[in-house]
Subunit: 227 residues, 2 copies
DNA sequence: GGGACCTGACTGACTAGTCAGACAGTGACC
DNA sequence: GGTCACTGTCTGACTAGTCAGTCAGGTCCC
């Protein structure tokens, strides 16, 4: 169903609407306004607003997979640093807006089986990506013996918690505090004693090219103190 | 403003409505239905739905403070175990429903200055309570030298992340994994080498007595597979 | 009689989803 | 080449419903 062009248009429109309006104001109209089609066209292609959102999560998952794949040839320690940095470096305005909306969306998962299933998949891929880094580090001999599954889960929980607190409380310091705590208390146990966790990243975790901010990020300024 | 009886009635009604309907369905009517007043009475006492929610967060904060105070005479290690257990033990249905709704509410904080300010305060009290435990443990000589502020932040982020993932992904295993990881990797650095983190809690973190489930928790059963 | 408290009926704004019909393209058939 | 039937895509207008908040008026107590 649906030719790829219009699907892509609807997905990026959804992304923009999410960033600009948040999830709870993500109306079918708000999405349509950001395409060159009418609201009815949305319902023609996807039967419901919910289906659009479900597809959007799918779209994000594809993005994650693509982005993880790009990093696989790097050494494990560099990848770990990039992963940490991805979650715990201070977001720009667009990133923050997106995290904010995504949190609202995630908060609906308990009420919505489809969202929950898709978010699970997204989470599992992330978890597996991190486990892979940890396992590769063991093989490369830079990490000490540990349980990659448990450590990955702990790290993701801490990162996620930090990000959510940063977004909901509006406190950027949080990220740096948690990063330092993670490096000192968790990664210290993981790295071989002679291995230092890099101060700066060797490369940035690649962004989702499809969601490169097409909208000229300026008309968004006076809309900042919202709702 | 407002006599304490009706305030209390509205707050517990808000709590019940949140648990049963979630935040995004928390309408003024849903709250009123759980009091013996009409919806108009709500608007008479609080000027808006938002004000009710803001007051409710306040109400929760008072509860936390009360509950933390009750535990202050216990040894630090016991308190730490109770704190960990509070966040990371498997919730019953009511607790889970409440966490779910609270997450929705927290997800609105970025858009709402009042909510954000109150949630910050709530968070700060929690952080201070945990720091206090850590400092007391240092004084009691059961903990090794560490930075209580940073460790408290790390623990709270990890706990919060674990709880959110458990709620949004519907996976209870998460909590146990994170608890084990926290004990092995973070608390291992904090406790003196000869001190063992308790397997079982000496006491439960006290619940909020005011929110004791007054509604006979049975009519809620067939409404479980919702929305 | 005045104020505190409360109610039911109502309004206005908003939204998901529907539907009848428009229109452009395509292929068949004369 | 022209016409006709048909299909996929799309639209504007509409429906049915929801919800926050208002308001005129009522009761009860001082």
């Amino acid at each position: 169903m649906t030719n790829p062009d219009i699907r892509d248009a609807i997905m990026t429109a959804t992304y923009e609407a999410l960033c600009e309006e948040g999830y709870s104001d993500l109306t079918a109209q708000a999405i349509a306004d950001r395409t060159d089609r009418s609201k009815s066209a949305l319902f023609y292609h996807y039967g419901s607003r919910e289906a659009i959102v479900a597809e959007f999560i799918e779209y994000l998952i594809e993005g994650i997979e693509l982005r993880v794949a790009k990093t696989r040839d790097r050494p494990a320690l560099e990848r770990l640093a990039a992963f940490v940095d991805w979650f715990l470096s201070e977001p720009d305005d667009d990133e923050r807006a997106f995290h904010t909306a995504l949190l609202e969306l995630r908060a609906q998962a308990p009420y919505n089986d489809v969202f929950r299933a898709k978010l699970r998949e997204s989470n599992d891929r992330l978890q597996r990506a991190l486990e892979e880094i940890l396992r590769d580090g063991l093989e490369e001999g830079v990490f000490q013996a540990h349980d990659p599954e448990a450590v990955a889960a702990l790290l993701l929980a801490a990162f996620d918690g930090a990000q959510i607190r940063q977004v909901t409380l509006g406190r950027n310091e949080y990220l740096e505090t948690i990063r330092a705590g993670t490096v000192d208390h968790v990664l210290a146990d993981i790295l071989k004693p002679d291995v230092e966790f890099p101060e700066t990243v060797a490369f940035e975790f690649p962004p989702d090219e499809r969601l490169r901010d097409s909208s000229t990020a300026d008309e968004r300024t006076e809309r900042d103190t919202v709702r």
